[in-house]
Amino acid sequence: MSSRAQILARVKENQPDLTVLPADLIALVQYADPVEMFGKVLDGIGGMMHPVKDYAEMIGLINTQFAGLPRIISTIPELKELTEKDWENQDPHSYENVDVAIIKAHFGVAENAALWVTESLMGQRVIPFICQQLVVVVHKKDILSNMQEAYQQIADSVYGFGAFIAGPSKTADIEQSLVLGAHGPKNMTVFVLA
């Protein structure tokens, strides 16, 4: 008997009587001002939120914050004047020296400052992880309160790869001292578009 058949047979033999899947929880946390909560939580996990009224204001802030950095890439058409051209279809290892990656998120979640990004928004899967600094753009109306709402939004959408990203890469493995920039981005900026 193959291991597959053997494991499945043993599971069938040993699993207890069927219990029902519980109903989805209702009456979950709702924030009066989800954007304010999002910003507060993001600050607590080492990220920075900037509310902006339009792309023009955002471009001004990007130019100041990242002045002089040689490699800035983005998947957002509105930012193409600022960023490198034709970077998308290279070997993933070639992004090792990307200074700043600017991508969009489908939505954000106030309770944990996580942003939902799928690979169509990343350009390539490795981008938000390999860059030195990460910038994510999200619309104000797309900040939800909690994770149940997040999965209602994701529903049965199809993606090859997707991730919730909450703040910069971090570790506290050495004596519980928090250090930002373990392997991935050393900081994370979130622009919330009005």
Binding site: E111, I130, M147, G181, A182
Partner: protein, 458 residues
């Protein structure tokens, strides 16, 4: 216990030799436990979430056969190559055969307690394959030649000066440097080179969704993603109990996992892998290794609901003061002590006794596993099966005789009080295990019975 290997008590003795370190370890873990409480208290629905998660996992265990089949078929449709491993040896062989077919001899690995349980690193090294652990804590213990001492905080037992010494030796950091910022920066450079040059990556799996065939991996460092997205071959390893029915269930588990583990609102990255990247091979190994047997043990099957947050360790008064290595198994602490005897009742007979049965583990468990009740039940099974420590068995027999004979009990109590008062050296010596790291209490003048008799007559 009788295998000649040191048991929990003996290994704790080693850890307890350095009292200052024990205090530091105890306080550090309690600090993490306190962060968990703070995070849990931010959500009014916290208890409802725990109950919901517990019921989802009950449903998973009761319908695991169908969920596994559903998951397999959906993962295959997504282009993932699915393997099944009956035990650790088969799991390790599968990993090796995948690497061999691609002629890969060097690889990176992110955190996977399953591969620790299977001793994958040792197996691959014996077969000429270099494995680099990329989680910072795991890399530190790997450089030190030790196993992780905690499932979430692998090097929580190490001081930064010791880590500085290891990095000086292996990564060339300046002698005496111990600043966490500096050491982490050195590890970043060291490990980035590995991510960029290794063709294969192993990751663990936190949750696998039957309905969609996708699997979710949670990290703070981003090491699973760096490995997976830069590799030609991604191998994900999971125990069969990691299945959840629906994608929407992730909303519950992702709210509980990081808050329970470290007090964070969520891990930095919760990555949902559904299909391989263009040109990449993605393998997934479903591992039994004793899980189907545990599923058949009505009193212990709940242990399979575990989501590996480590909250039971952080809160455990025994774990905090004995260290993860004293459990001599891949998964330490209270949850490890109810998982390990299933794999080898004789070798791990000591672990269910390494507990005060205070129940704190059960109180913090995000999926409501009755951990302390299972510890108590394992003790009964272990004694009945004849695997208990002979010293403990004799002590229990003596206690049973004493407690069931009132006159013997009264005489014994009197004798004990006399000895402690008049000849304390008879108990305050190293032959008495209760005297280690403790002072014996001052004996009372009289027993409760004597006191009651006297006061009730007046």
């Amino acid at each position: 216990m009788s295998t000649g290997i040191k048991d929990h008590a003996a290994l704790s003795d080693l850890f307890n030799q350095d009292e200052a370190r024990v205090d530091w370890h105890d306080e550090t873990l309690w600090f993490v436990r306190a962060k968990r409480d703070k995070a849990a208290n931010t959500l009014e629905e916290w208890e409802a979430l725990r109950e919901n998660a517990s019921q989802i996992k009950d449903n998973v265990l009761s319908n695991l056969h169908d969920y596994l089949s559903e998951f397999e078929s959906n993962a295959q449709k997504n282009g993932v190559i699915v393997h099944w491993a009956a035990d650790a040896a088969e799991h390790n062989q599968i990993v090796h055969s995948i690497l061999k077919a691609k002629e890969i001899t060097r690889m990176v690995k992110s955190k996977s307690m399953l591969t620790e349980e299977c001793h994958l690193n040792e197996y691959l090294q014996q077969n000429g394959i270099e494995v680099i652990d990329t989680d910072l804590g795991e890399r530190i213990v790997q450089l030190a030649g030790e196993p992780p001492s905690h499932i979430v905080l692998p090097c929580i037992h190490k001081k930064k000066e010791e880590i500085g010494e290891l990095f000086h030796e292996h990564l060339g950091t300046p002698k005496g440097a111990s600043d966490p910022q500096l050491l982490t920066a050195a590890a970043r450079v060291h490990l980035r080179e590995k991510f960029l040059t290794r063709r294969a990556a192993i990751t663990g799996v936190n949750f696998a969704v039957a309905e969609t065939g996708e699997f979710v991996v949670c990290t703070n460092e981003g090491n699973a993603d760096m490995g997976a997205h830069l590799s030609e071959v991604h191998i994900a390893c999971m125990g069969i109990e990691k299945i959840i029915p629906k994608r929407a269930n992730l909303g519950v588990f992702l709210r509980l996992l990081a808050r329970s583990a470290t007090g964070q609102p969520i891990t930095t990255y919760s990555s949902h892998f559904r299909t391989p990247r263009a040109g990449q091979e993605m393998h997934l190994i479903l591992v039994d290794n004793g899980r189907t047997q545990q599923l058949g043990r009505a009193d212990f099957r709940n242990s399979l609901k575990c989501i590996r947050c480590g909250a039971c360790m952080n809160t455990c008064p025994v774990y905090r003061r004995s260290g993860g290595h004293s459990y001599h198994t891949a998964i330490a602490g209270p949850i490890g002590a109810i998982l390990a005897p299933n794999l080898d009742m004789k070798q791990y007979a000591d672990l269910p006794f390494a507990s005060t049965l205070c129940g704190s583990c059960t109180n913090v468990c995000p999926v409501k596993i009755n951990i302390h009740e299972q510890l108590y039940k394992w003790r009964q099974v272990i004694v009945k099966e004849g695997y208990a420590d002979p010293k403990k068995a004799i002590a229990m027999k003596t206690m049973e005789f004493t407690l069931s004979n009132p006159s013997v009990y009264r005489t014994a109590g009197k004798a004990g009080r006399w000895v402690m008062k008049n000849a304390p050296f008879l108990v305050n010596n190293k032959l008495n295990a209760w005297y280690k790291q403790r002072d014996m209490p001052t004996p009372p003048q009289q027993s409760f019975r004597e006191w009651y008799k006297k006061n009730n007559n007046e």
